[in-house]
């Protein structure tokens, strides 16, 4: 079994500067949409799902591309995702337990 050393850096496909800028553009766009949606009365009824989806998209973009999770070794994704899912689960459970979802 070959020895791994620090010199064997796994080849990471680095995003180009243009790609980073494009992602920044998308992030800005999404933020504008979020704020816009907030001000549009028609959206008030389903503000939560729309906004949560939009910010989840921003979250994913930053984590996958700026933090390189998408191109890095899967292990890092596992180390991050497990506690993240736990935190989400705990938050949802607490919301239920404190009756936030009830009427």
């Amino acid at each position: 079994m070959p020895e791994h050393t620090e010199t064997d850096k796994p080849e990471r496909k680095h995003l180009s500067v243009d790609a980073y800028l494009a992602i920044a553009g998308v992030l800005t766009l999404i933020t504008l949409v979020e704020v816009g949606v907030f001000y549009v009365p028609a959206f008030q009824a389903f503000l939560a799902p729309v906004l949560l989806t939009l910010s989840a998209a921003k979250f994913a973009l930053v984590v996958m591309f700026y933090m390189h999770l998408k191109t890095d070794h899967r292990l890092f994704t596992m180390i991050f995702t497990l506690p993240l899912l736990l935190a989400l689960g705990v938050a949802v459970a607490l919301l239920f337990l404190f009756g936030v979802f009830v009427g």
């Binding site: 050393t5 992030l27 930053v62 700026y66 390189h68 497990l82 936030v100």
Partner: protein, 194 residues
């Protein structure tokens, strides 16, 4: 001959410091998760005092949110520059990231003092307590991040931030982006979903 190869051996081929930092970020998910959960659970239950509708300033906070997003861009460009060995742009982008971070902190300071003047303090009501502790913890994290970035900037000026030190910048970037990502959640959950 030193057994350095043995000393740097890893089972996964991945850097231990980077792995450690992702583990730390994992624990931070629970830290901020608890703070945000508490905010959500207590939303709308304040008995007295100003609440979200009366006091949160969406336009101003949208600007500060945009500022923090752009700081993430600056950070990722800084890492790129360090990896290329481009000293000028490395210093430029590191300084920009730190500056944008300071701007964000400025916005926070402005917001906090405005709120206090408008009658919302830490101890005023549930909203004051949950809001200030949540955003205060976040701001504290940003402040530490700014110090970290300035340290890297100084190291760069000392000629000690070459491409071989790119991992240090990458890890600082992981911290910075995570702090940004937490703000993405806070902006939505506290400001937009009032």
């Amino acid at each position: 001959m030193m057994s350095h190869a043995a000393a740097h051996y890893t089972s996964t081929g991945l850097d231990s410091r980077k792995m450690a930092f992702w583990a730390f970020i994992g624990s931070e998910c629970l830290l901020f998760g608890s703070l945000i959960s508490t905010y959500l659970v207590y939303k709308g239950r304040s008995v007295v005092g100003p609440t979200t509708h009366e006091i949160l300033n969406i336009p101003v906070t949208s600007v500060s949110t945009f500022d923090l997003l752009m700081s993430s861009l600056a950070m990722v460009l800084a890492l790129s520059a360090v990896e290329r060995g481009d000293k000028i742009w490395a210093r430029g982008w590191l300084a920009t990231t730190a500056l944008l971070g300071l701007v964000f902190l400025g916005f926070q300071a402005y917001e906090f003092t405005t709120f206090v003047h408008e009658g919302l303090k830490l101890d005023t009501n549930l909203f004051g307590s949950t809001f200030f502790v949540l955003t205060g913890f976040h701001g504290g994290h940003v402040a530490i991040g700014v110090l970290w970035l300035l340290t890297l900037l100084v190291r760069s000026f000392m000629g000690k931030l070459g491409p071989d030190k790119a991992l240090n910048v990458e890890i600082a970037g992981l911290y910075w982006h995570f702090v940004d990502v937490v703000w993405i959640v806070i902006f939505t959950v506290v400001y937009l979903l009032q």
